[in-house]
Assembly symmetry: C2
Homo-oligomer: 186 residues x 2
DNA sequence: ATCAATCTATCTACTGATAGATAGCTTTGA
DNA sequence: TCAAAGCTATCTATCAGTAGATAGATTGAT
């Protein structure tokens, strides 16, 4: 038998994988339970409702994603490295088979999501924009907050859009080239 | 009683609206039937399967969208007008409440779609890219097909991404400003 | 009279969710 | 120290609801 946190982690891992591939409305407690070798009732023990489970997935995903990006205020942080790494994270999503960005796929489904899942999804985008704006603000000398905020939106929109479009076209693309018109990293 | 084509049109209209708002996996025959005042069995009479109905929705949507854009080869076509109109179509999607671009939402769900719906979704993007590439090629004097194709991808990705991001942020934005770094329309 | 279109009624499969039982720890108190 | 009590994590079994789909009767216009 696995420990409490091990089981919870395995449920969250499986749920995240399913949601990234198929979205909120196409995953079920039973398939997650089957995948990790327990019964669906046991999944309900840890996560009472589907909305509760999905919200937990999004919160963990957002937290771990933002943490992995690094702290913009860190003294030895290099803005270009931070942004290159940010872009690479999106490139990696496309490489991992049949997956979407969790935020992107849930935002597409937003109107059919329970409130707590929709709220967590909105928070994912808010935190991405905040991080991007901070990096642009601190390291590129864009001292007008509105300008760096707008630039952050363009970066985020282009990366999410590239995922959406390339998913259907099944083509390879360099994400860094997609944003080069408004973000020079060379 | 409505004629055959009237009923079919109303089914397609209702299905399109539901899919644009909630995606493929969150709409049902029963809600569409109820909305237009018939029974779900009657919807099955016109569209035997859910996949069949959704594919018909996407084909009609793609066809009517591309047709509405105008013909790039037309002698009196103005490239800037064509592109401004294209961008405005995406702006309109954001204005219409709680809707997404049909292609965008289905591309997000792609892995959980039946083959015929996924194929129709891919075709939507292929035809968008073809139209954009044609316009750029013919009117902006970009004679390298690879360059205009890449520019078309950037335009499409940015517009789809803007829809995805703004859906969660619930903010207003000028789509023309989002693409101005690589598409000057002034 | 025909036949397209719609209906009623039903089916199977699956959904999220809950109830109740149980095995095995862990805590507690005399 | 050791039994009583409670807790954790799981199970089996089942619920009501909804999904897509189909068979067969009914309607109604030409």
């Amino acid at each position: 038998m696995s420990s409490r946190s091990e089981t919870i982690t395995r449920i969250l891992d499986s749920a995240e994988s399913h949601i990234c591939k198929k979205g909120y409305n196409a995953f079920s407690f039973r398939e997650i339970a089957h995948e990790i070798g327990i019964k669906s009732a046991s999944v309900h023990y840890h996560f009472p409702t589907k909305a509760n489970l999905a919200a937990a997935v999004v919160l963990r995903y957002t937290d771990s994603f933002i943490k992995s990006l690094g702290e913009p205020n860190s003294p030895n942080a290099d803005a270009k490295d931070l942004l290159k790494n940010y872009i690479q994270e999106f490139q990696n999503v496309l490489i991992s088979n049949d997956s979407m960005c969790l935020g992107g796929i849930l935002s597409a489904e937003l109107t059919s999501l329970p409130d707590e899942v929709a709220d967590a999804t909105r928070q994912f985008f808010i935190e991405n924009l905040r991080w991007l704006t901070d990096v642009l603000q601190l390291h590129f000398g864009v001292n007008d907050i509105a300008i760096s905020h707008f630039k952050a939106m363009k970066i985020l929109a282009m990366l999410e859009g590239t995922l959406i479009v390339m998913r259907s076209l099944n083509r390879e693309v360099q994400f860094e080239e997609m944003v080069e018109d408004f973000l020079n990293l060379s």
